[in-house]
């Protein structure tokens, strides 16, 4: 035995690491695939460290684009999206994206740099109290005061963002914390399982109520996608035969061709969906929150219905509409636990099917111009089951919701709660990175598109084969429609007829682009778009006077739909 082998074994001391290095290791420990971000002074130490990261950093051209791209990545994958920005303006540019994620319950970890701790609160250059600014729009947030806490805080942040009802969290990193050196960081402790146990008595009450109902209706919300409960919802609908309506966020939860699928309810919902809600005697709410765009005037919503409300978030139950039976839990767990007796609702099923057939959308609009609903329908059908739409906000968003075929709720990305124009392009970018196999299409309008048009440069840089359909009506169409209908035609600040030539702009960014101006060009245009090997933009000129129908006027009951000329 040699002297050296006889020496007591002493574990080597861990090599000291900077806080910035710990940030990178924490993100790698979470198996993060992409971080969407933009560097700046107060986050430079982290950017110095990420050159050795396992994840890929996507350099966007505006921090709002980073937040939206991370949001879409999270919606498509069900994983946590990550975005990063510097202090001050970098951090505040994330704010719309954070609010968007909060409203639609999207798990995001948002990382911001900040000025060094001694300078915080002194109005230093690029200092902003981003923790304070974002308090109302995050699920939780931290200012890291000690670099040793970084592994534990990041692990907790990912857990909080994704667990229960998901949402965005924010981690603010003062610069001295990023450059501080740590020998023994505090390790993360495993998160506790906080899943609630279902209340069997409420389940039995729900079964009894379903068994007694003559006109039951499923009201499907975004919680179904979040809970990854598509299979459970489809099984329940098949087993019971109960017809269903969906919110904007619930579209795709049921197969498009399932006869009981009545489509979207609410302001721009289908007639058959809104009529079914008005007529039903039992509303079974699955991960929905009685949003005012869905309910219209709340006092007139589902006036004859008892309500079973199933939601993972106890705070949603009774917030806007009292529930006769409240079940706090994950839709994925609750539905298989419900076994109602066979229902005798054939007349109701037949009535809903009849109304669905009677109100089926028509695509034979007069004229030679491009009819946007027909184009979107054809696009989604031609793209097939791998179609993923990343929508912007406006008329095109509602046409997409009404006329596109979505194979699953993961195929429809839309800023539902916040209604943030500018979402579509960066969201498409994030979704295509997450699903390179899919036909990801950004559906945008001329107002929305220009709000984050700079992300065309990101598409070009990374060769992201996102397809873009830009429906250009040379105006802020939805505002124009409201001014026409509810403000006596007093058109105020909606004219965008001096728009740039969007195809030329796209080409200037190095993106393939072309125009569609006539109905007869639509099919060939869709062919070209879907076959393009790289990013491609179709600039589609549509009638500026086209409206979205049906429409429930603001403040009115869903029973008071306007049907327009459609």
């Amino acid at each position: 035995m040699t002297a050296s082998s006889a020496a007591p074994k002493i574990a080597p001391l861990p090599a000291p690491k900077t806080g910035a290095r710990l940030v990178v290791e924490a993100l790698d420990a979470q198996r993060v695939e992409f971080v969407f971000g933009y560097p700046g002074g107060a986050i430079m130490p982290v950017y110095d460290a990420i050159t050795e990261a396992s994840f890929k950093h996507i350099l966007v051209r505006h921090e709002q684009g980073a937040a939206f791209a991370a949001d879409a990545y999270a919606r498509v994958t069900g994983r946590v999206g990550v975005c990063m920005a510097t202090s001050g303006p970098g951090a505040t540019n994330l704010v719309t994206g954070i609010a968007n994620a909060m409203m639609d319950s999207v798990p995001l970890v948002c990382i911001t740099g900040n000025v060094a701790s001694p300078l915080m609160g002194t109005d230093a250059f690029q200092e902003v109290d981003i923790l304070g600014v974002t308090l109302p729009i995050v699920k939780h947030s931290w200012i890291v005061r000690d670099p040793a806490d970084i592994p534990a805080i990041f692990a907790e942040a990912f857990h909080i963002a994704a667990s229960g009802r998901p949402g965005p969290v924010l981690i603010d990193l003062p610069k001295d914390v990023q450059i501080g050196v740590v020998a023994a960081p505090v390790q993360a402790t495993p998160a506790k399982d906080t899943a609630r146990r279902l209340d069997p008595s409420q389940l039995r009450r729900a079964e009894a109520a379903i068994g007694l109902a003559e006109r039951p209706l499923l009201y499907i919300g975004g919680g179904v996608r979040i809970a990854n409960a598509v299979a459970e919802v489809r099984q329940f609908a098949r087993n019971t035969g109960i017809p269903a309506v969906s919110t904007l966020q619930g579209l795709g939860a049921l197969a498009p061709d399932w006869p009981g699928n009545l489509g979207m309810l609410g302001m721009h919902g289908t007639r058959e969906a809104n009529e079914a809600v008005q007529a039903c005697d039992l509303l079974i709410v699955l991960g929905a929150r009685f949003d005012d765009r869905a309910t219209g005037k709340l006092s007139g919503f589902a006036p004859h219905a008892r309500v079973i409300h199933i939601d993972i978030d106890a705070a949603e139950i009774g917030k806007l509409r009292d529930a006769h039976i409240a079940i706090t839990g994950d839709v994925k767990t609750v539905l298989p636990a419900l076994s109602p007796r066979p229902l005798a609702i054939t007349p109701w099923i037949e009535r809903c099917a009849r109304e669905r057939a009677r109100h089926e959308a028509r695509y034979d609009a007069p004229g030679e111009g491009v009819y946007a609903p027909a184009l979107l329908k054809e696009l989604s059908e031609r793209a097939g089951d791998t179609f993923v739409a990343a929508c912007d906000v406006g008329q095109h968003q509602m046409w997409a919701a009404q006329h596109c075929r979505f194979a699953s709720p993961f195929a429809h990305l839309t800023s539902g709660g916040l209604g943030a124009m500018g979402y579509g392009l960066p969201a498409g970018l994030g979704a295509k990175l997450a699903r390179p196999d899919a036909h990801v299409v950004t559906i945008s309008g001329d107002g929305s598109f220009i709000m984050n048009i700079q992300e065309l440069a990101t598409l070009k840089r990374y060769g992201i084969a996102l397809k873009i359909v830009l429906l250009d009506n040379a105006s802020l169409g939805l505002v124009r429609q409201w001014q026409e209908l509810f403000f006596d035609g007093n058109f105020s600040e909606i004219d965008l007829s001096d728009n740039p030539d969007f195809a030329a702009v796209a080409r200037a960014f190095g993106i393939d682009a072309f125009r569609i101006t006539k109905r007869e060009e639509v099919s060939a245009g869709i062919d070209r778009l879907l076959a393009a090997p790289g990013p491609c933009l179709a600039h589609v000129l549509i009638d500026p006077k086209e409206n979205v129908w049906p429409l429930v006027p603001p403040g009115k009951s869903n029973a008071e739909m306007m049907h327009g000329e459609a």
Partner: protein
Amino acid sequence: MTEMLLIQIDRSEGSLQRLIGLIERRGFTIERMSLAEAGLHREVGIGVRARDAGRAVDVLARQIDRLIGVRRIAPSADTVHSEGAVPCTA
């Protein structure tokens, strides 16, 4: 009517701001408030009043309960004017 809530909350940075901000955002005014340290936590007594008839304090309580760091929330008969209490008008 002022309704009293007794809340145990972590002493983490921003926790009080988070709590007070939520109550006001959700349509309640803060009529009274008391604060006491309790080890790693804070005991906060808050008297709240709804700004309109559509706001239910039990919904508010559930919204507070889902804040990260809130350990316990319960209605309280009268917890406000203990020693160290800070009455305030919002």
